[in-house]
Symmetry: C2
Subunit: 242 residues, 2 copies
């Protein structure tokens, strides 16, 4: 399983991902699911991937390949984040077209879902979800976050904390707590955790983090959060029976 | 959608359920999903239902019918909670046998899952989940709760708070917060909320509650919880970038 999330607020962007991949519960590996294709000073391009690993690796490979051979359309040449989202969608469609029949006939799930976040000089910071069918949606002010993979365990904390006005520092903290909640409830989501915080209009990713299993900060924040939740629980009045 | 849960601890049992039923998002109704078939002073029998409403109603009807016509096997005659779980499983199998072909050919989901909790004089307080296939599992000391329906949003709070030693009052509060988290994240789970708290060895259900939409206590506890979560969030240290 996978859990990735993106948060876009007035002051910036946060993207986070776990690194656990499993082909059945008896084959668990670690693969990076957060990719940085930025050009510092010009554009920030961050991508998170979920779904069939061979498909998502093929998509990321294709993006790099187009950069390498200097294709007209690539993540560094396109003029808006929306165009990049559509371009990635096109890559997904091309790869699915080849791979799908082979996987489908053995009932292997060939779907994938991606998050794309970033900013191009002169444009707004934006966040998109790109579906397995190649279409996409954009995060809005009313719903400033998008999630892919094992989304449910980590949603309540974001529903309660996040708005478009949330500071990017708080958004990063909320992302980490959301990932931690998911890891606690689903063992197939796990570290290393990759987290990126981007401050709007800086056009450079200055804050990124990889939290390894047993990382002391991750342990501390979890203990502190559990303690606080327990205190919050104790302060909540008992059920009023009548 | 539905969300029901059962919690069994050393000091008793809590069962809770929402009441929202939907046939598509454009047809939402209210149906009770928590049923009390107790005989005060002798046995406490509580059942929560999820899944296809025509199937679960048929199951509950069959249990009442067996009581009415004085069948040898019924929820008041059987000697252990395990026997009652198996008996309910048998009812599910009989009803599925008749209904399944008719529903399946129109691709209608015919499955259902039930929770059974309670205590029979001289026995322990026990909690079971009965699957659509008629088999069942029992909640254990290590995992003192069971959930059916939309289970994920409400699991993190229970994972963090509940153990077998949790007081039954705290278990009731935790159940309500778990249901509230689910309602906040999934609009197809909704009030009235039915909640029952049973103190082990009392053999009488003395605490039950129906919280209507807009109920003041429900609003209060939600506001208080959101405030506490926000405080807990603020107290959690910021992400430590390196």
């Amino acid at each position: 399983m996978t859990y990735c999330l993106g948060i876009v607020t007035r002051s910036g962007l946060v993207m986070g991902a776990d690194s656990r991949t499993n082909a059945g519960v008896d084959y668990i590996s670690t693969y990076r699911k957060l990719f940085d294709l930025s050009v510092p000073g010009q554009r920030v391009i961050l991508i998170c991937t979920s779904g069939n690993l061979s498909i998502t690796q093929a998509v990321i490979h294709a993006l790099h390949q187009d950069l390498k051979i200097g294709e007209n359309e690539n993540v560094h040449s396109l003029l808006t984040m929306y165009e990049i989202a559509c371009y990635i969608g096109k890559k997904i469609r091309e790869i699915q077209e080849t791979e799908r029949p082979w996987l489908e006939r053995d009932r292997i799930d060939y779907t994938c879902t991606l998050l794309l976040g970033g900013q191009i000089q002169g444009e707004q910071t934006e966040l998109y979800m790109i579906y397995s069918q190649g279409n996409c949606i954009q995060a809005a002010r009313e719903t400033p976050f998008l999630q892919i993979g094992e989304t449910k365990y980590g949603k309540p904390i974001m529903d309660r904390i996040l708005t478009y006005e949330t500071s990017v520092e708080d958004a990063a903290k909320c992302a980490l707590l959301s990932i931690d909640s998911t890891m606690k409830s689903n063992i197939s989501v796990g570290p290393p955790i990759n987290l990126v915080m981007y401050r709007a209009d800086s056009l450079v990713v200055k804050h990124q983090l990889t939290l390894q299993p047993g990382d002391r900060y991750l342990e501390d924040i979890r203990k502190q959060w559990e303690h606080s939740i327990r205190t919050a629980f104790e302060q909540t009045p008992d059920v009023l029976w009548y």
